[in-house]
Amino acid sequence: MMAFWYDLPVAVQDGLVGLMLLTPAIVLGAVVLRGFETRPLLFALVRQQVWLSIVFVALIAVSVGIGVGLIAQERGLRQGTARAADKFDLIVAAPGSEITAMLAAVYLQASDMPLIDGETYHDIESHPRAELVAPIAFGDSWKDAPVVGTTPQFVVHLAESLTEGRMFASEEEAIAGARVPLSVGDEFSPAHGVGGAAEEDAHRGANYTITGKMPLTGTPWDRAILVPVEAVWGVHGLAVGHGPEWDGVVGPPFEPRYFPGTPAVLVRADSLGSTYGLQATFNNDETMAFFPGTILARLHALMGDVRQLMSVLAVITQVLVTASVLAGLMMLTKLLSRRLALLRALGAPGRFVFALTWSYAVFLIVIGAASGLTLGVLASWAISQAITARTDILVQATLDWPEIHIVAGFISLTSILALLPALLTMKRSVIAGLRG
């Protein structure tokens, strides 16, 4: 049986789980409503109390929306950060905090880091299993855009192809990320440092010309300007990685003697196994080598705990709101008591009046839950846009099965709870109801 289950496509499994969660409500509906036509009176009751009905629907929608939004948002953020780290197989940096190094090298949240020297860099670069080795030298900026020194090979690895222009070929040339407000041919002068602490005039006289634009990657690198690492060293008055006979062609190989250092190095090996081998080799007293994906997974695990806590809080919120709504529904059925008493006076079976009251409550719950699903996705989308705008990490919060499962469970649970006001309706005196 379990084998059959695991053989099913994931979407089918998710669909079946959703259906199972919804089954109590469906079965209850089929049993309660069997043999009656409650729809015309249901809509009459809704129209009679239209504003109160809207308030109840809105309350449920907000409560469900919060739950759905939180889950969709957390997943979108997780996927966005993972996507942003996709191109960074292995990072080598000087020993320190892996998280700081990852934030700096992958997400361009610059911070002061010790440098890797030329000899170490040479060891990494000359490793037979290393397919791509590139320095990531950050610390300068232009306006809000980090200026990162690297190699043409890294640009190709990151962007695959440029949307316009050509690769930088000299120390005065640069490639702009898709969201950098510079076009091919524009010139700029870098500042030393980033953010509020940036020194605008520190590199006076150093100018770059944009020769190409990268495509949109949905990562912080969309807001970055990539320049030859030789240029970064040059504007800081350091050696440029090549000896006196250098012909001016930017990029590797670099000479250890003239290599001033880099805070981080991206390494790509020829196979997954080799990546692990490289990580083991360069995780030593001199350097630390780590997989950004692993660090991210640890952070996500932490976020997962937070998500579970948030999910519990969301469910508690929903239950509390549902309890309030049910209390409200009890009051509302009291407002409708004259109509319900009339039906009983006319001889309608008690089960019909019960079914009508229950379907009224469940109608509001289902409409509220469906609106909440939409509201949650819309709110999540808006928050994702804001996060993307602030971090440049493309966060896409979309509707997925976990949210549908939560809503299905919510509908089933509340449709069981909705039996309560329906039962209480039957306890009221017909005569008292008729007299209003």
């Binding site: 009459a44 009679q48 009339l342 006319l346 001889g347 309608a348 079976p349 008690g350 017909v430």
Partner: protein, 226 residues
């Protein structure tokens, strides 16, 4: 459906705290009779109507409609009796204002067994036609005048072709012209099929048309005049 005879024996209906609301030592009403019940406010007229319809359970005594002992039935059985045998007209029409005239007239179809639904709907339309409301039967009830709404309530009472029609102050909320028309319609339609009609009313127009007038004072039947 032809009317049913009513027989009451030693009936007592008590309210909260055991206070006696109604006492009827003995009463018989022939099938197909149009009876008017009158008396001062609070005398027990509506209690009488609710008791003979089975809405109000009795404290002691027996109520028999034909050979059916209403007073010994439980709640669901009394509801079924009303559903199948009784048509009710209330003082202020008590319609579902958001439903159409047809929707209100045929409301019993919503909870009737499937094989009776079409019949109820067709009778509902027929009654609306007889009451002059068929031209616009799909209009929302809330948009009709008071007199028209009460006529819709009459159509609803008759749609399931009941043997008994009970009316609680059916003309009280109407002006004279509408009250006269409704009294005529109600008497006529009740008598059409030989139904038993019991109407609680202060309306002299209905008193004049009744086969029999029953007076209730202080919860007791005082006089029963043909």
């Amino acid at each position: 459906m032809a009317g049913l005879p009513l027989r009451i024996e030693g009936l007592t209906v008590s309210g909260e705290g055991g206070r006696t609301l109604l006492e009827v030592p003995e009463l018989s009403i022939e099938p197909g009779t149009a009876v008017v019940v009158r008396g001062p406010s609070g005398a027990g007229k509506s209690t009488f109507l609710y008791a003979v319809s089975g809405i109000l359970p009795v404290t002691a005594g027996r109520i028999l409609w034909g050979d059916q002992v209403l007073s010994e039935m439980n709640d669901p059985a009394r509801a079924a009796f009303r559903r199948n045998q009784v048509g009710f007209v209330f003082q202020d029409h008590l319609l579902f204002e958001e439903l159409s005239a047809f929707g209100n007239a045929s409301i019993a179809a919503l909870y009737a067994p499937k094989n009776r639904r079409a019949g109820i709907r067709s009778t509902g339309t027929e009654q609306l036609e007889k009451l002059g409301l068929s031209a616009d039967e799909h209009r929302i009830s809330g948009t009709y005048s008071g007199g028209e709404r009460q006529r819709i309530a009459v159509a609803r009472a008759l749609a399931a072709d009941p043997a008994i029609v009970l009316a609680d102050e059916p003309t009280a909320s109407l002006d004279r012209e509408n009250a006269d028309r409704l009294a005529d319609d109600l008497m006529q339609l009740a008598r059409d099929n030989g139904r038993t009609l019991i109407a609680v009313t202060h309306d002299p127009a209905m008193h004049a048309q009744a086969d029999r007038v029953i007076d209730i004072v202080d919860g007791r039947i005082q006089d029963s005049a043909a």
